[in-house]
């Protein structure tokens, strides 16, 4: 079955916060929606969960006319009057499932979430991350055919996050769930899903695989959102990009006036030291910050400052280097 979002629009407080969102989401898949803060992600999920009504548009399914997702709320919303255990089994109890089965399912999921010892606590006795895990467990325990998750891992540390991601993936495969999940944290989206939609300003800007997204963002907004990139102002004249640091051929994708174009240089994967056919620029290394898996290198190219993530120890400070584009640079 496929889920369809048909022209969904939403208005609130006089503002258009969703603008004709069209999506079709295959079942038995994980679909990620990535977008900056305030772009309308939560609003969209609320509509899919039928908590809110769109001002226009519909959400339908192949078989079901009115599919309804089970939601993991961004602000957790644990029932304050119930213990962790009671919160988790709420959905099952409601369905009048047998006590023994409830207990067993709850125990399993609590184990996975590493919250078994918290079972008897009340939400106000939990840390932020613990609350988030309870919220996750409360929804996941239902194995809902459509699961909606609103930034479900934002308060979790790296280790837990990975475990949770794995768990959700396994669950999805085991029970053939459809998962739509919303995040602002792109690595998370990339790890979990092969189909990522970018929602900016209430509009779906691009739907693509993670790799495509990073390498060729559909437009400047997407590029800027994906972040970790340098944007070099210049112009596009006679099929050539012209700027203070680079002038030459480019993969032009702009729509705007040709006079003002922007060169997109992501921190990662676009520039290398090894020689290619696309000579980029010559710069001086003026700063190096170690950032875990690589180094953030600050490069002065003329009067411009450019940042790149390079493998650890690949450059020395206060040296000059020639840099190359890995492929034809993208210009908007």
């Amino acid at each position: 079955m496929t889920y369809y979002l048909n022209n969904i629009s939403q208005k609130k407080g006089g503002q258009q916060i969703l603008k004709k969102v069209n999506l079709s989401i295959n079942d038995n898949s994980i679909f990620a929606i990535l977008g900056p803060s305030g772009s309308g992600k939560t609003s969209l999920l609320n509509i899919l969960a039928r908590i809110d009504h769109p001002t226009a548009g519909t959400f339908t399914g192949d078989n079901e006319q009115k599919p309804k997702g089970i939601m993991v709320f961004q602000d957790y919303r644990l029932f304050p009057h119930m213990t962790v255990f009671q919160n988790i089994v709420f959905g099952l109890k409601i369905k009048k499932i047998k006590k023994a089965e409830i207990r067993q399912r709850a125990e399993r999921i609590m184990m996975t979430m590493e919250i078994t010892e918290l079972a008897k606590r009340y939400p106000d006795e939990l840390s932020g991350g613990q609350q988030q895990r309870v919220a996750l467990a409360r929804a996941l325990i239902l194995n809902p055919s459509l699961l909606l998750m609103d930034e479900p891992f934002s308060s979790l540390d790296e280790g837990l996050r990975m475990e949770m991601l794995d768990f959700v993936k396994k669950l999805q495969q085991q029970f053939k769930l459809t998962v739509i999940f919303v995040t602002h944290y792109k690595t998370e989206a990339y790890l979990l899903s092969n189909q990522v939609a970018i929602l900016i300003n209430g509009q779906i800007m691009q739907i693509d695989t993670p790799r495509k997204l990073e390498q060729t963002p559909a437009n400047l907004a997407v590029a800027k959102f994906l972040g970790q990139a340098n944007f070099i102002q210049g112009s596009f004249q006679q099929h050539q990009f012209v700027s203070s640091i680079y002038t030459g051929d480019s993969d032009f994708r702009g729509t705007g006036p040709v006079k003002e174009a922007t060169l997109y240089i992501p921190f990662v994967g676009s520039i290398q030291l090894a020689t290619t056919a696309f000579s980029a620029f010559n710069g001086e290394i003026i700063g190096i910050t170690w950032i875990g898996d690589s180094e953030r290198v600050t490069i002065a190219v003329g009067s411009e400052i450019i940042y790149l993530n390079l493998p650890v120890d690949s450059v020395q400070i206060n040296t000059k280097k020639q840099f190359y584009f890995k492929r034809l640079p993208v210009v908007y």
């Binding site: 908590i51 089970i70 919303r77 029932f79 304050p80 709420f90 959905g91 409601i94 106000d124 239902l142």
Partner: protein
Amino acid sequence: MKKLTKLALFLIFSCFVFLPLLVIVLLAVGKGWNYPQLLPQKINFGSYFKLLFTNHELLASLTASISLALGTIVLTISIAYPTAIALAYYQFRGKKLLNILVYLPLIIPGIALLTNVDFMMIKLGLDGSFLGVISIHMLFCLSYAIKLLVDNLALLHNRYEVVSRNLGASSWQTFFQVTLPLSKNGLQGAVMMTYIVSMTQYLATLLVGDGKYLTLSVRMFPFTQAGKYKIAAVYGVTFMLVTLIPLYLIDTWMTHRERRVIRA
């Protein structure tokens, strides 16, 4: 120092509350209390209890009072809850008006209301019936109940109801599992006020009840109005007992069960 002022305030307030109550109790059990005696010449609890238990009407009035109060509570809460939920959770046309409408029974003087309600009750064939009497009691309790519930429900808004519905609970399940426990404080207040207001209705009970429901208040009010201090006090103490005991039991039970603060 601060503790001391707090303690002082506490004591003053307690005096303020208890002094009149003490007077009523003394009136009920004392005899020969005339100026300039500070206290009654004789205090005899026995006479109070004798009066209480030999009064064959008392038991009947008690039953009438309490069954009416319970009926009123059920009716009032079942009307007040949905109304309060609508007022606290949703925006709709006419909400401002409704907000004021709710106060109306308190605002419109009994004189203007009672005989006319009685008229309606007669027309509807409800005068003298249980439903009729609890309906008119309900009219006077409704404002309190709705307002107390709204105050409470508005604090949490419908955040948790939304979750419950999303997790598959029906409206009823949501109401009983989420709304109710979360607004327990407001509910307690509403039940309390309803009980009290119903217990103290006098004219309404008489008029609409067609003299069939001789509650404690109905029997007591003529005495208080006629200033029959002693007998009024006897009824008064009885009234206090039957009001306070159940309400304190409820309160204790509630606070006891309520292991968790419901955080807004």
